[in-house]
Symmetry: C2
Subunit: 265 residues, 2 copies
Amino acid sequence: MSEHHTSVPALLTVVGLGPGDAALCTPQALAALEAAELLVGYTRYIGLIPDELRARKRVMSTGMRGEMQRCQHAIQAALEGTPTAVVSSGDAGVYGMAGLVLELLEEQGLLDRVPVEIVPGVPALAAAAALLGAPLMHDFAVISLSDLLTPWEVIERRLEHAAAGDFVIVLYNPRSTHRDWQLGRALERIAACTGPTRPAGLVRQAYRPDQAVMVSTLGEMPWEQADMLSIVVVGNSQTRIAGGRLLTPRGYMDKYRVGESSQRR
Amino acid sequence: MSEHHTSVPALLTVVGLGPGDAALCTPQALAALEAAELLVGYTRYIGLIPDELRARKRVMSTGMRGEMQRCQHAIQAALEGTPTAVVSSGDAGVYGMAGLVLELLEEQGLLDRVPVEIVPGVPALAAAAALLGAPLMHDFAVISLSDLLTPWEVIERRLEHAAAGDFVIVLYNPRSTHRDWQLGRALERIAACTGPTRPAGLVRQAYRPDQAVMVSTLGEMPWEQADMLSIVVVGNSQTRIAGGRLLTPRGYMDKYRVGESSQRR
């Protein structure tokens, strides 16, 4: 990279592209990509950017686990005056790159020098919920099963609290080639509290060509079909299956039935 | 409403408009509004729809607590053959109208007759997180403090489990004119577990003209400024304030420092 130590730092944006379909990428995210000269991201996410736009930009992409290298590259470019966008799928603020960018800037004493803007997107949890029905009408807990960066004991403790608190539970990163036992263990932990008949949903590749949406129960879902691009949703004690969809009632029906009849009196 | 009992039911969409700024409304949401002839929603949310589009549609809007009436009107219209969109701000699937629409259809035995599509949007939690920095880089619990439809004991139990599980905590509906003590009680419950120095954020009217973004601690935040259009975020044990933003580290820095040096050996 060239050396422009005296140049004015340029804007660094961290952009959530949404679940994958361009129709779910916001105008603000597209505008942030347009305003950038350099786009930085995991190869698969760079592929979500419209070809025509990407063709007009410089691109720096790497494979999985290249997060530090990519974010550092983006920071250096912005510092040297190149408007730069770091892209995530879903929302950049939910297990995305927003945090690592801020951490690296902080470590290097650059938080005041490099202007950063985080552009929110449609997170994977919202995409999965829409396809499953209406599971997130009540309080929910979001837990990543990736123990690459988090001790498994911490994850397990959170699963137990989420189940004991009767939260709807959303699981990110349920399984990958190298992490094949975590989902089974997590579901056991949850089922120990909820029993095996609790309604659950599994969404693979939401709003992408190979999308799959499954609604079943903890005990009967074909969990072996979960992969790294899946979201798992486990209902709370009120969640039911209605017309093949997951439905967690909010309480309107009971509440306003009563309200209506009182008003009539 | 006219009677067309023999007509073919039309598509009923439940659409999340995002936090408010049109730049954060997805093309798919706009397309769903375009495809509808009738737009149904809370008056304030109908106001988020671009004037030009709204002017070409029939609109049915009511004030707060008219949810049942609005959704029933939308169902009836779709049943009689009018393509109809029920609009929510944020994401229709997070404490939105998706659930009530499905509940009403189920109750009336119409789940198989009226085709329903839920269009996800940028939820308020993602909008608030982006403005606060990067608080949701790790597992989080989302809890509504509205006890209109949920007993307060259930809410309090969830707050305690969320704090004990070291989740980042996102609070929806923290306060309204008629619900003035719940936020204080909730924060006391959380602080009993975390202490008063836990970093926290308060976002009012995210991406709307009167937006306010505050980062402080549980003990020092001016909580009296929270209102019905606010989102509260309370960090986990790792969350810190960096350059005035909330930052919950994911663990990359520690992990890959180690990883890098091992690879060099």
